[in-house]
Amino acid sequence: MGLLAGVDVGNATTEVALAEVKGTEVHFLGSALVSTTGIKGTPQNVRGIVLALSRALERARRSLDELGLICLNEAAPVIGDVAMEAVTETVVTESTMIGHNPSTPGGLGVGVGRTVLLGDLPFVPQGAEVIAVVPSSFDYEEASSVINEAISRGVEVKGAICQGDDGVLIANRLSRKIPIVDEVAMIDRVPLGMLACVEVAPPGRSVEVLSNPYGIASVFGLSPQETRYVVPVAKALIGNRSAVVVRTPAGEVKERRIPAGEIYVEGASGRLTCRVEEGASAIMELVRRSFPIRDVFGQPGTNVGGMMERVRRTMSDLTGLPINEVHIKDMLAVDVLVPQRVVGGIAGEMSLESGVALAVMVEASRIPMEMLAKVLKEEVPAEVLVEGVEAHMAVLGALTTPGTALPLAILDLGAGSTDASFMREDGSVELIHMAGAGDMVNMIIASELGIEDPMVAERIKRYPLCKVESPFHVRQEDGKVTFFEDPLEPRLFGRLALMADEGDLIPLELDLPMERVREVRRRAKREVFVTNCLRALERVSPAGNVRMLDHVVLVGGSALDFEVPNMITEVLARHGVVAGRGNIRGVEGPRNAVATGLVLSAARKLAGRDLGWS
């Protein structure tokens, strides 16, 4: 008899379990895991499947000819998609604000005066109160001598704005202590002849006058109405060590609320509506009240409308179903902070705007795995069968974890969706898919930390942090210290880094405290996985009560995460439930559950000869 392979094509990975079957005995030979090629359920998957099969065979020192039967999973017909919508935006017209954090501003204090180009300073009359604007064409010696000369003539130089990184150098050479903001890249956009205020806070503090609306009002003598307008400016400057606000006659700064659109949920309570701006808790309340959801729509012509249509179209292309028969069955919303470039800022100012991250899940009647099986059959000299519902197979596989027994609930933490299934002692199964998993965590991390490269967000999710404190040691996020015999590279020095596998350090280009990055990462994982685990388990547990469950086994790629399983174990322990990461066949960890289940199920049927194959 030939070899038997179970193949599980998932959203992110394709897994294979390889076994030899003799009578009723199943002897597992090995497994393999590769990235899924193409969207799950499409013929493009074949390349990944063949690669995974040949890897598993190679490891077992067997050849492709020995393969007798390949069992494909009846893939869960769900596709997830994620999107992020900013709901507020700060717009500065007529550049009125510079708020940024150069590492080394010069001087100290608050200075108010009219902006004057350094070259024009010799022509300013005695007694005038000015703020010097210093382009990088002047070196620090020149700049300081021009300012000193003006001061000695009786000009009241109250502060300076520099283009180069010269703030400290100039401040050290002045006869009078004034605040200097430096590294203002687009200095030519600073309006001249206008009243401006420069503030530099002492080390370890942040600006106090310019981050306070009444402070700005006092400096510029604003009316109550005008003071309302400067609130977004003050808000954007909070936390900076140095800042400049220039008052221009036509200047206007406003916080704009972007119409992110409305969401319509059709479900148990009819059609409910909510604006995206209302935030995650309002949206999730809608989802909870509407369960079971029949469909979700976004307002046409808005961002959220576009997102819902995109998911629907992908699913329709994949299944061949008409677009109006593709339904969104679940949605997860999480509030996020989005650092966004201030429109009209001149030193690359960022403002923390609020936004909502959304994950949606589309369910079709089934994913066309038969078509995939047909294409696969042409590639390999073996029988190919589509066998077994994914959730069923996952429980069978999970049951090979030492210490488990029926009734058993499993949580499959994937990339696209979080799935829960519950198998009773009689073998009957409850199953639910929830929108939002690893991909959503990546998106939240990327948006909250302002990261553009998705690979970096994935790594931040996957590895613990450390700070390189010297060429020979790093401090881990738990406060422990690791020493290195060989000096760490200069590109790592002083930086935050990720402790990747095999002791590799990956430097991060983030100017943030380690605590902040850690908090964002952990919050993203909690908001997605812990929320979804509870949501999912409530749906499958007897009488909707999570406390009725005894054992919950975590499987899937995200169950490999270094902290997600602990977060879930902790929360479920409060409900009196034993939960932990699975260990498929006692060797695979949380991976390979479905592939293993497929092999076991097929072997069982083979013994009863009801597969028509020998």
Binding site: D165, V168, P487, F493
Partner: protein, 154 residues
């Protein structure tokens, strides 16, 4: 032992080979880099190559950070790495590069991330900056070690 470098005052130490042209400009540039970061610099003259000067300077510095310059090349050494090659080294194109060297020496003393390129547009070209990184001896050592390991020679 080194006249200009006080052993009490916490400062970065710079040793320059007496043969360099525009000695004052060199000290001014390295000094400006340190000053902007708020770290004092003390300096002296000594004959030798950049790496060797940087090593000596690091031992004289109370902050444990030494800079050496011999006219063509610069090096930054740390006293904690005594007996090893300098932590960073390269060749110099102009004053802007030396200011960048001073800035990084100061950042090493402060324990904050280094600026990994010479400032562009103010004398130091971007191309040259890359040259500095290419010559980073620790990187070269790492690559050689990796190649030897891959060839099974080590």
């Amino acid at each position: 032992m080194l006249r200009g470098i006080s052993s009490d005052r916490p400062s970065i130490a710079l040793l320059v080979d007496p043969g360099v042209r525009d000695l004052e400009g060199v000290v001014r540039a390295v000094g400006a880099g340190c000053e902007e970061e708020g770290v004092p610099l003390s300096w002296d003259l000594r004959s030798g190559r950049a790496a060797e000067l940087a090593g000596l300077a690091s031992e004289a510095s109370r902050l444990g950070v030494g800079v050496g310059f011999d006219g063509a090349g610069w090096a930054i050494a740390l006293s904690s790495m005594k007996g090893r090659p300098p932590y960073m080294a390269g060749t110099v194109g102009g004053c802007a590069d030396l200011r960048w060297v001073g800035q990084n020496a100061a950042r090493l003393a402060k324990g904050v991330p280094l600026v990994l390129r010479a400032p562009t547009g103010s004398g130091g070209g971007g191309g040259r900056a890359e040259g500095i990184l290419e010559l980073d001896p620790s990187l070269v050592r790492t690559i050689v070690a990796e190649v030897l390991k891959a060839m099974g020679l080590r």
